[in-house]
Symmetry: C2
Subunit: 222 residues, 2 copies
């Protein structure tokens, strides 16, 4: 069976979980706490990061975006990338935006400071960094709203890996209760459509022991 | 004419410059200082980041990896990605490694603290972060050496975007004189082969006003 090594609040892990379900590709999961650096995880991926997908033939794939591009090439059913090259470049630009800029300014900061530090008990959260993350997310949310107002989905007319990547990051931050949805109606409407997709259900059912999500997290009418 | 908006020490900009030359695609360049946030740059790319490639037809592409994937799809001459899907996933895994982990732990830290802060005069360099970057690069260099010992190029038998991405990051750090080449002979040998490629010549000719590179930077026999 296909095995996905993941961690709940890792946005790249969430992205692969959603992509696999969108494509109806069956898989099982192994929970990793990447900071524990299990030798089994390091053997599969020397970077020690999640996600890692072990295909049924036994070979391992690593890096969220590399895994999604592989899935797109090998399992073309229910495409998650447009066909036309410029449209693909636009989807990949947004993937880079969320996996790069958004991750740096928001996800890694807020999840890192508020959850990972708490779970690893290694350090105290840096409140200046948290404030910076909470301020940055406003700009990103406004940009999502801008895109959602002029397009059906973030990358264009079709639902794509751009939506999946953005939703993977936002859902991890939403688990902390840190997305100011009420400030941006078009972004909220877009996320409500994402939340109602069957592929998103397991994400909404995530529940970290000792750190439950806020009540609106799984609510379709939030 | 095709126009690339770039900044000298931006690794994603270097990656696109090298990829364009490998494919013999003619282009001109416009130098950006991204922190100046020129309205013209923001109009082309709302993230305000470089590189941005404006194609001859007038449309703009943003994000280093998105641009490279576009070039690969539209200009298949001199391929920079292998054909076989698992080999492609391996190349993309390494691209993710350097654009993600290496950028975070090394390039952004060292270039950001030592050069960008100096050029923007906004803040003083954080010496603890610099020490962290200098310590991290040792592990990455050892991993490059490990790959270079068992493969012809980093991603496999063929020169690929994995080599270009790794070299783009390392060359930016090497401009600061911060790559401990003498500690890892196989990594040094791999980089010597990269340096001798015609596509790399313009990178080695980079010269920031007031901040010249160390003498070994452009030396093929370093």
């Amino acid at each position: 069976m296909r095995m996905l090594h993941h961690f709940w609040l890792s946005a790249p892990s969430r992205k692969v979980r959603i992509a696999l379900r969108e494509k109806d590709i069956p898989f099982e999961t192994t929970l990793e706490k990447p900071w524990e650096q299990r030798p089994e995880l390091l053997a599969l991926n020397p970077s020690g990061e999640v996600p890692v997908l072990v295909e049924p033939q036994g070979f391992a794939l690593a890096d969220g975006q590399a895994i999604c591009e592989f899935l797109e090439e090998v399992y073309p059913q229910r495409p998650l990338m447009p066909r036309e090259v410029r449209a693909r470049a636009e989807v990949r630009r947004l993937i880079g935006w969320f996996d790069g800029k958004f991750a740096r300014e928001v996800t890694d900061t807020l999840v890192g400071e508020k959850m990972i530090k708490r779970m690893t008990r290694r350090d105290t959260p840096n409140s200046a960094l948290i404030r910076l993350g909470l301020s940055s997310i406003r700009h990103h949310l406004a940009y999502i709203g801008e895109l959602a107002e002029r397009r059906r989905w973030l990358g264009g007319d079709e639902f794509s890996l751009a939506d999946i990547t953005a939703a993977a990051h936002l859902s991890a931050v939403d688990y902390l209760g840190d997305v100011p949805w009420s400030e941006c109606e078009p972004a909220k409407d877009w996320y409500a459509r994402i939340k109602s997709r069957p592929s998103f259900r397991p994400i909404l059912a995530d529940h970290l022991p000792g750190a439950p999500p806020p009540p609106h997290y799984a609510d379709l009418d939030f």
